[in-house]
């Protein structure tokens, strides 16, 4: 397996180099997606299936889809300029590389890290999987802030990108629609399963949210318009976008009031509270990521605009 690991590491470095050095933006994006898949494989080899799932679903899949959607909205660009070698940047990056190597060398080789302490507190955590216990209980604040970052990114994207939807290619036939219809039940099943399984084994809100978002993206591509679910008004959608974060914080405040500290849960209710937070976080993540891909807010103005154009 050492040969395989070595080849994988070389492949990752090669792909990373290609993704950053390519002159063609489209090629860079495709290589970046392949890079994400290889990194996911590396996480599997490091026995970190949680990170592998997240990397494959979000880092490679949805980030790739977002990059491609961006690419379809901007003018084609190829950088033909001769690249000058810059000593100052070379120095900066060499310094960074040396720093990283030094940090890497300081990791204790037989390090258990915090694993003993985590295992000691698992009975109070409400979930049996150590990764979920850390993410949703011991370091819940970090995860809540991740949700806030995601919502923030969506706000920024909305501000920059009001009038653009992906440039959909016209489709002949109904293959993609049929595919989307067949896939939907499976996507829902896998999303719910990943969420539920997160309590005892690898999985959780981010992975489940990414799977649901991928389903919404396929739907949006198949039907060639930003997805709209019924006639819910904007206010309900906004709540679903930021709801995961706010519910998280509210429950955190309840913990403060009950004397278990901010973002702490009473051990007896921890399991139920974590499940509630995870369900809302999953929906928030799924809707935010899908809305970033296809745009949601300006659905009606866009529809009227495209009617005028045609």
């Amino acid at each position: 397996m050492l040969v395989f690991d070595g080849l994988l590491a070389l492949l990752i470095l090669g792909l990373a180099w290609r993704a950053t050095s390519s002159r063609d933006l489209f090629e860079s994006i495709v290589v970046f997606i392949a890079l994400g898949l290889m990194i996911a494989l590396a996480w599997v080899r490091l026995s970190a299936p949680d990170a592998a799932l997240a990397e494959a679903a979000i880092g490679s899949g949805l980030a790739g889809a977002l990059l491609l959607a961006t690419w379809s909205r901007i003018e084609p660009q190829t950088d033909d300029r001769v690249r000058a070698f810059s000593w100052s940047w070379a120095l900066v990056f060499s310094g960074l590389a040396v720093g990283l190597l030094l940090a890497f060398a300081q990791i204790p080789a037989d390090g258990q890290g915090m694993m003993d302490e985590v295992q000691a507190h698992i009975p109070q955590a409400g979930v049996a999987h150590p990764v979920t216990a850390v993410l949703l209980n011991f370091r819940a604040w970090d995860t809540a802030l991740e949700l806030a970052v995601l919502a923030w990114a969506w706000f920024a994207q909305q501000a920059l990108n009001r009038d653009h939807t992906p440039r959909y290619q016209a489709l002949d036939g109904e293959v993609l629609q049929t595919f989307a219809k067949w896939l939907t039940p499976l996507v829902l099943l896998v999303g719910a399963y990943l969420l539920w399984r997160g309590a005892t084994e690898p999985g959780g809100a981010f992975q489940a949210g990414a799977v649901l978002a991928a389903g919404l993206v396929i739907y949006s591509l198949a039907y060639q318009h930003p997805w709209r679910a019924g006639r819910l008004n904007d206010w309900v959608w906004r709540l679903s976008w930021v709801g995961g974060f706010w519910l998280f914080v509210m429950i955190g405040l309840v913990g403060l009031a009950m004397g278990v500290g901010f973002m702490g849960y009473p051990p007896a209710q921890a399991g139920g509270l974590i499940l509630l937070i995870e369900i809302c976080a999953t929906l928030s993540i799924a809707f935010l990521l899908a809305a970033m891909f296809s745009g949601h807010r300006d659905t009606e103005t866009l529809a009227s605009k495209s009617n005028k154009e045609s």
């Binding site: 290619q169 016209a170 489709l171 036939g173 293959v175 993609l176």
Partner: protein
Amino acid sequence: MAEAMGLILNGLSLLLIGLGLAFFMAGTLGVLRFSTPLNRLHAVTKADNLGLGLVVAGLILQAGSWALVFKYLIIWALVLLSAAAVSHLIGQRAYQQTRQTESGETP
């Protein structure tokens, strides 16, 4: 007797996975060497469908439980489904582009 069975199973697995890998090699070579998108698709579907199918068949012989066999088959079926849908989309796009270049329109 059980030993001989194990040996035969291992041999069969090796053979099937080796054959699958050969299809993957051929498919990759085709993607790299063929010039038009449709030819490349033709090459890569062999790797996706038959290559992965053979690898999965080889792994199924090593699977300890029916649950694992079922999972392998689901993986193969899902890859088949997505490969078919994606190939269709790429092919459609390639066909549209060829027609546009032939009729002299700018895409």
